[in-house]
Symmetry: C2
Subunit: 195 residues, 2 copies
């Protein structure tokens, strides 16, 4: 196996097990049986390595979402199962999920550009469902793509509150998730308010 791939695997292993704080270049290198500087032959710097990990993590999340997609179901049902899956996945793979939103902007000024086509495709996945829902008039949106991002943002918010332990101790996590999904989905479906 190439060292590059081994670095990625080991990094991810450390990341998932011990969190980002413990993921040092020397530790990664040590576990690969090489010196720390060798990593710099395969990655520009730590952020660059992190970027590769982010891509992987998003790809995995996207995969998890795709697996629960069921064209037989209604768009609303699909949206709900996607929301549920997103949250479950994030809570079951907290360390990996955190990577996705961890790298701070100042450390990576020119984020998208060529890379991150996978990332976009993950959003397109949601946008597609929403677009279909819009066509069959079960969903109430203006721009499907923007709504996809909105949905994603809302889900991330819910996950973030839980992972960062910001949830009130009085509130049962399950109940919070259920109510959050309710609110989020309701925000997307057609409102048939009688004149």
């Amino acid at each position: 196996m190439s060292l590059r791939k081994e670095i990625l695997e080991v990094s991810k292993e450390i990341l998932i097990k011990d969190g980002f704080g413990k993921m040092s270049m020397r530790k990664i290198a040590g576990r690969c049986g090489v010196s720390a500087t060798s990593i710099y032959l395969h990655f520009k710097n730590k952020d660059d390595l992190l970027l590769a990990l982010i891509e992987e993590s998003i790809e995995n999340l996207k995969q998890a979402l795709m697996e629960v997609l069921d064209p037989a179901k209604s768009m609303i049902d699909q949206l709900e199962v996607l929301a549920r899956t997103y949250i479950s996945y994030a809570l079951e793979h907290p360390q990996e999920y955190e990577v996705i939103y961890m790298v701070r902007p100042e450390e990576m000024p020119k984020y998208p550009k060529e890379k991150f086509r996978d990332v976009r495709s993950a959003y397109e996945l949601l946008a597609d469902i929403i677009r279909k829902g819009k066509r069959e008039e079960s969903l109430d949106v203006e721009s499907s793509l923007i709504s996809a991002y909105t949905l994603w943002a809302q889900l991330h918010g819910v996950v973030s509150v839980i992972l960062n332990k910001r949830l009130d101790t009085r509130i049962p996590q399950d109940q919070f998730i259920e109510q959050a999904i309710d609110h989020i989905i309701k925000g997307f479906v057609i409102q048939k308010t009688p004149a």
Copy 2:
């Protein structure tokens, strides 16, 4: 002025100007004219200092929210202006906002307990509006407190996507915010679906 207070002020100054990454103990100490170790006489460690900053930041955010509260308006309108204010505040004070959600869980295992009454009171602020909306049957919620957390989470998600520069370059930020607020608010108002 007490050194403790000066440390807090200087920390915040550095944090807002240069971001968390540049906020080192030695730098704070240097700018206070003392040695780095002095900080440990007033704060248990860096996380502890950060916690104090988080409290302050949340208090400021809460203050900004309280200022736009207007009992004359409908609950739905108030909810909307709160949402708008939350997002604006976060985007206008990005470094300060980031503090609120930055400290990672593993670094602070026992978060709430005695402290953070202010934090809770910020949520209660939202919960109050929601509770009133529920009473006058303009809002559709089960638990007001949980819905308050849900609203907060959703708003944080929207902000987070923008601050972390995860928004698609094709999407105008303003339009994203507008559509997000629409979806979020809609998720809370009563749905009068005709049987």
